[in-house]
Amino acid sequence: MSTLLEAPHRTERSTPTRLLPREPLRFAAFARTYGRLPVITEELLEAVELSGLTGRGGAGFPTARKLRSVRSPRGAVVVANGTEGEPVSAKDRALIERNSHLVIDGALVAARLVRARRIVIAVGRAGGAADALERALAERSDATSVSVASVPDRFVAGEESALVHWLNGGEAKPTATPPRPFERGVGGRPTLVQNVETLANLALIARYGPDWFRAEGTIDEPGSVLATVSGAVWQPGVVEVPLGLPMADVVARCGGARESVQAYLVGGYFGSWLRPSPDLRLSRRSLAEAGGSLGARAVVALGEHSCGVVETSRVVTYMAEQSAAQCGPCLFGLRALADCLRSIARCGHDASASYARLELLECQIARRGACAHPDGVLGFAASATRVFRDELARHLAGACSALDHRPVLPTPRPEGSWR
């Protein structure tokens, strides 16, 4: 790594600006800010390993290991996953719209490392991500192997096997594995599916090296990450923060809370509700200790005047609708779960019976789908029964204590086909 570049200056400790510029960067400005991409050699793989970069899409898999597993003499494929089917996460869209060139650079770096001849950047259809990428690609001449694919707007469409299935001509629904994409994916070739934020970090490590990367974050969880914060905060949006930042500071970056926060939803609709605590940090370890997970760092602050039970019910209904309907336990189980939660949310006369049914439903849904969708929903709903225990008891007794009935969590209607 003898040709390291000068990294752009960092401002304050908790506001790194590595990934997310304030304004979208055209190629000239981008080149001025970040410098040119150096020649990529095999040494970069080791640098990635030293940097400790992990997947930024939610699973958090060590990136170097993933890159190594895909290397193939046959010609691999790189899929940059910017689909972001999670309604409460907007970080991938923000990254693509403001820093397309960094994402493209990252994809090119990954392609070089896994010897891929084809790169696809997958984005959702809603929003301007596809246009931003096409504009960026038009500004450069080194990305002829890159194409942009607009994938159906569905929650599960961004799942690895679903994405590969769609790129192969099928519906954007998860498939049963084996084979896994890294063995046989797009066009039968070994395929690397990597989140766009991970790839952007790859482009940064290629320029500035692993030590620079580790200057942010913690020792176990290095680097800065993009987080989407919404709900009861004054300035909801996407922020770039170092891993390990206390949740209170994350909220402060977004203008602070509008009202007292009764719970955080961390990790999106596959995540968990968590009680606010001064020990809570935006890191895998801290969230795991609290019974949650980092996921794609989508954080929603639920104000004290809203009802966690009602919000949970709305989301589970949405997730039941978003089922690919390929597996009976997911299709019917989530529907039944949604019915039970709706009955509880409405304080219906059958609310107690519905609550009693939850455990049996869980036994019949857990680990019985072809993908993680049903399990993610179960975890989310279960966390609600723990964190909103008191409110749940009130609902079972026939009353809801919410003062603000406006919906907090977005539940967009499914539109368009799976193809």
Binding site: Q326, G328, P329, R368, R389
Partner: protein
């Protein structure tokens, strides 16, 4: 997605939901596996290192597997198979193979574990 299709039968006290004190009167609920294989009285000793598993996408709730080898497969309330997450006892190997062959969707399979 490891372990797709290899699931445990309903057990009381699901790990997720805060206990509701619910009764376990479930359609198709079977007893949880007991230690020592005590549930298979009369079966010859030994396990085969094979395990039944279902492809949940192919499965269409015909229910033939649960009829042919009820010791290992029960049905949830929607008619889909819940398979015991344990090796097929030697005495049930033939029934297990018959169930795999009988599935109209070829969704059931026998996985051989390599230890």
């Amino acid at each position: 997605m490891s372990g797709v299709g290899s699931t445990e039968p309903p057990r009381s006290g699901g790990a997720g939901f805060a206990s509701a004190g619910a009764g376990m009167s479930g359609v198709g609920s079977t007893e949880p596996p007991r230690s020592g294989g005590a549930g298979f009285a009369g079966a010859s000793a030994g396990v085969s290192r094979e395990r039944l598993a279902v492809d949940p996408i192919r499965c269409d709730a015909y229910g033939h597997c649960a009829e042919l080898v009820p010791e290992l497969v029960s049905l949830d309330e929607w008619g889909y198979p819940m398979i015991r997450a344990e090796d097929v006892p030697a005495g049930l190997r033939r029934e297990a193979r018959r169930a795999v062959a009988a599935c109209p969707r070829l969704a059931l399979r026998l996985d051989r574990r390599r230890r």
